[in-house]
């Protein structure tokens, strides 16, 4: 008895249908839904971080202002830094873009571990709520986002502020580690037939690099945070010099994580750029192998440069020279990519629609930020400018320019795919230009005022330093940036309700997500695609053959919640797996972990131990149901 294509696709839809209503969202394991949950949650945190930034900028608009006092200002710059890095950029790139797009780009139906993915999100959300409850209750972290000891020790910071810091970051780190594990195994094992590593989209190389970076870097931060928690609450002496400890130990462990972290922030954005440029130039990326390895190299070498954040700590120059040397060369992979992007744009037929405008802006801002970064590798220069506004200028050009601009560009680029609607182009372009003007007005004067000696993290400054006019311009730039962001999101919201239908492929995009409907069905691909290049949507022959296989009912895998598994290096098919569907265990497990963190703030160790047993029971429940045998 033959079944028609429609019957097979209907069966697929029934197999993959999501539970309705709020319960469906709370128990979802679908990577697209989880990606959207991350998207909205991170936007809320982005808004919070933006309000913190504007509050600080308003306080600094003129000398000796009194909008906020020093205590609150300390919490503002600390929580702003933490929020933007750990609760906006990392989850927006790996959690939202990575979750939604990586399975689509490799030709899979979900990530490798769907329930783990849900767990990542709920822990992430819990960690953010944890941080902000801390802030609103007057216990916001207040020793900076890198929280140096001895300032962060119990002696100098006796409240609960640093417990909120350590525990929120430990939770956030667990979430990120789980996401990175999921992305790595998905990229390794769930690629479509034919997708050997030399045929994998550059976006996936970028996310592989970022995920490997997170995996190797986060344990260093975890160790550091655990030591700090123990020093403050159990009376250990890891950082206590009087009892054999070392304050520099905090910095070494922190920056061994912290420097790879900043590459982890920008590498996914590089991945977004490497997809937008081919789409809007209709040309393959020049020097594909070099761009692919550059994405991995920048993270790999980036692990070796940590002490360039410590050039002013008194370490001997004969040691620091290693870090200066490696820092000099870590620029090279980024430069390779900048050349590849630029020449691809020039050699192609660029259509400067909003996504490509944001990428052009990103390249400009990244180069400016990169140039000041190179200046820092000169140890004497660094020793003069460390802890001044020059540093703030550098990293905001990099973070806002090289991470946030591509994120905005990516939002526009994939908006039609996720919503099925086209955004309005003209307001999109206007939002870009407002943001370009705003961010350059905001961050460029910081170079000058930093060289004029203005330290970072000061809540006010005297009138006779000559810093006032620069700060005024920066604050105006900050408000213009805020307006640009509002225009951007207003455009997306209005487009969602009023935009024209987008169809499968409004851009003639290069990758597999453009070969399926917008928004994608739950199962992503009705028949598993076969690929022969990193630009599978441009390989019309392959896509026609997919259509024929679907018509013949081949490779539909509708007997369960099924996903093909591939071999690591060359993408050969090795089996079929049955994937989990919706489950309550992830949100329950996240809840228990959050409770553990909460009781640890108030040092209730016995209760925490009891909750650990509850956690084990939850994990038992999680593993009580086994997948169908194939």
């Amino acid at each position: 008895m033959t079944t028609t294509v429609t019957e097979r696709v209907d069966r697929l839809e029934r197999m993959w249908v999501e539970r309705p209503g709020v319960l469906g969202w709370l128990t979802t394991t679908d990577h697209k839904r989880i990606g959207l949950l991350y998207f909205w949650a991170t936007l809320v945190f982005f808004g919070a971080g933006g309000i913190e930034a504007l509050t600080m900028r308003t306080q600094l608009i003129e000398p000796n202002a009194h909008l906020v006092g020093p205590t609150l200002f300390n919490e503002l710059f600390s929580v702003h830094g933490m929020t933007m890095i750990f609760w906006f950029i990392i989850p927006m790139t790996t959690g939202a873009f990575g979750n939604y797009l990586v399975p689509l780009m490799v030709g899979a139906r979900d990530l490798a571990f769907p329930r783990l993915n849900a767990l990542s999100f709920w822990i992430f959300l819990a960690s953010g709520i944890f941080l902000y409850v801390g802030l609103f209750s007057g216990n916001g972290p207040n020793a900076g986002w890198f929280d140096y000891v001895p300032l962060a020790s119990k002696v100098f910071d006796p409240g609960r502020n640093i417990e909120i810091y350590t525990l929120s970051l430990i939770l956030n780190g667990i979430s990120s580690t789980l996401t990175s594990a999921n992305l790595i195994v998905t990229i390794f094992k769930l690629r479509a037939p034919g997708m050997s590593f030399n045929r994998m989209p550059l976006f996936c190389f970028a996310f592989l690099a970022a995920s490997l970076g997170l995996l190797f870097a986060l344990p260093s931060l975890t160790a550091d945070l655990v030591f700090l928690y123990l020093d403050r609450n159990v009376g250990t002496h890891f950082f206590d010099v009087a009892h054999g400890g070392s304050t520099l130990l905090w910095q070494h462990l922190f920056w061994f994580f912290g420097h790879p972290e900043v590459y982890i922030l920008i590498v996914p954005a590089f991945g977004i750029a490497t997809e937008i440029i081919p789409a809007f130039t209709q040309r393959k990326m020049i020097a594909f192998p070099l761009v692919a390895i550059a994405e991995l190299l920048v993270v790999f070498i980036g692990f070796g440069v940590w002490a360039h954040h410590m050039f002013a700590t008194g370490l001997p120059s004969t040691t620091l020279i290693f870090f200066a040397g490696a820092t000099a060369m870590v620029v090279i992979p980024s430069t390779i990519q900048v050349f590849a992007w630029s020449t691809s744009m020039i050699a192609g037929r660029p259509q400067f629609k909003t996504p490509l405008l944001f990428i052009a802006g990103f390249i400009f801002m990244f180069v400016v930020g990169g140039l000041t970064g190179i200046m820092f590798l000169a140890i004497p220069f660094d020793q003069q400018t460390t802890d001044t506004y020059f540093v703030i200028a550098h990293f905001h050009y990099i973070i806002f320019g090289a991470a946030v601009f591509p994120i905005f560009g990516g939002m526009y680029y994939w908006f039609p795919k996720v919503t099925g609607k086209l955004y309005f182009e003209r307001p999109g372009q206007i939002s870009f230009w407002i943001l370009m003007v705003g961010t350059n007005l905001l961050f460029f004067p910081m170079h000058i005022v930093g060289l004029l000696g203005m330290p970072r993290r000061v809540y006010t400054y005297p009138a006779n330093m000559g810093w006032g006019s620069y700060n005024l311009v920066e604050t105006i730039g900050g408000y213009i940036t805020g307006i640009g962001i509002l225009v951007l999101f207003a455009n997306l919201v209005v487009s969602y309700f009023r935009g024209a239908p987008a169809g499968h492929d409004p851009w003639h995009g290069p990758t597999l997500e453009w070969s399926i409907p917008s928004p994608p069905p739950e199962y992503n691909f009705a028949t598993i695609p076969v690929v022969s290049s990193p630009y599978p949507n441009w390989d019309h022959g392959d896509r026609e053959r997919d259509g024929k296989r679907l018509a013949a009912g081949e490779d539909v895998h509708d007997q369960g919640h099924q996903q093909p598994i591939s071999a690591l290096i060359d993408g050969w098919r090795v089996g079929i797996a049955d994937m989990p569907h919706s489950s309550p265990w992830p949100i329950l497990t996240a809840f228990v972990l959050c409770m553990m963190a909460t009781v640890l703030v108030v040092e209730k160790f016995v209760v925490a131990g009891f909750l650990a047993i509850v956690l084990l029971l939850t994990l038992l429940g999680w593993h009580s149901k086994e997948p169908q045998e194939q």
Partner: protein, 198 residues
């Protein structure tokens, strides 16, 4: 033109490492880096202190920890044999080998906890940086051994109804984790005992 079709199952390629095994591998990488950082911390602090251990703290006992470490290392054999037997579908030998390993592992854990509490009578983690890193490293390692033993017990409970592909993958993943815990324990024990070797 693609040379690979969806039906191409490369006869050389069999699923050597299922995704469950990869999950365990990623976890092991993460935990190894964590222990690497803690061991690095131990030596960083060690080379910043003239006396190590500090005045008044005895050097660690060597005999009992090394003997029980030897017993733990020895469990690598039955665990690996259990993995091989499991992949061959031989249930009874698999279960007995797992029981043996779990018993030795639990015994190791028990002795180490006893040693830990004995050590606390002479010196506490609150005394000095040496004690802080000594006790923290050991506590972290013992926790990992405990988790490994619990995983084996869970697996034994699952195996009461025989093998499935899921349980075989779980067996391989848990055996891999067990081996990793042995390697990490060797590194931790040698580190914490290092003052007694010099």
């Amino acid at each position: 033109m693609s040379e690979i079709t969806a039906e191409t199952l490369d006869p050389r390629a069999r699923e050597r490492f299922p995704i469950g095994w990869w999950g365990a591998a990623i976890l092991i990488v993460s935990e190894s880096v964590l222990f690497g950082m803690m061991i690095g911390t131990y030596f960083y602090l060690r080379f910043r202190n003239l006396r190590w251990p500090p005045e008044g703290v005895p050097k660690p006992h060597v005999l009992v920890p090394l003997v029980v470490l030897g017993c733990l290392i020895a469990t690598a054999v039955p665990m690996q044999l259990a993995s091989i037997a499991g992949r061959a579908g031989r249930l009874r030998p698999t279960r007995w080998l797992l029981v043996l390993s779990a018993l030795v592992g639990a015994g190791y854990f028990g002795v180490e906890v006893w040693q830990f509490t004995q050590d606390l009578h002479t010196s506490t983690p609150q005394r000095d940086a040496y004690d802080s890193i000594y006790y923290t490293l050991l506590a972290a390692d013992h926790a990992h051994v405990a988790v490994a033993v619990l995983l084996v017990l869970w697996l034994l409970w699952k195996l009461r109804h025989g093998f499935t592909r899921y349980r075989t993958t779980a067996l391989r993943a848990i055996v891999f984790f067990w081996h990793a815990v042995i390697v990490l324990t060797i590194a931790v024990i040698l580190t914490t005992l290092s003052p007694s070797f010099t």
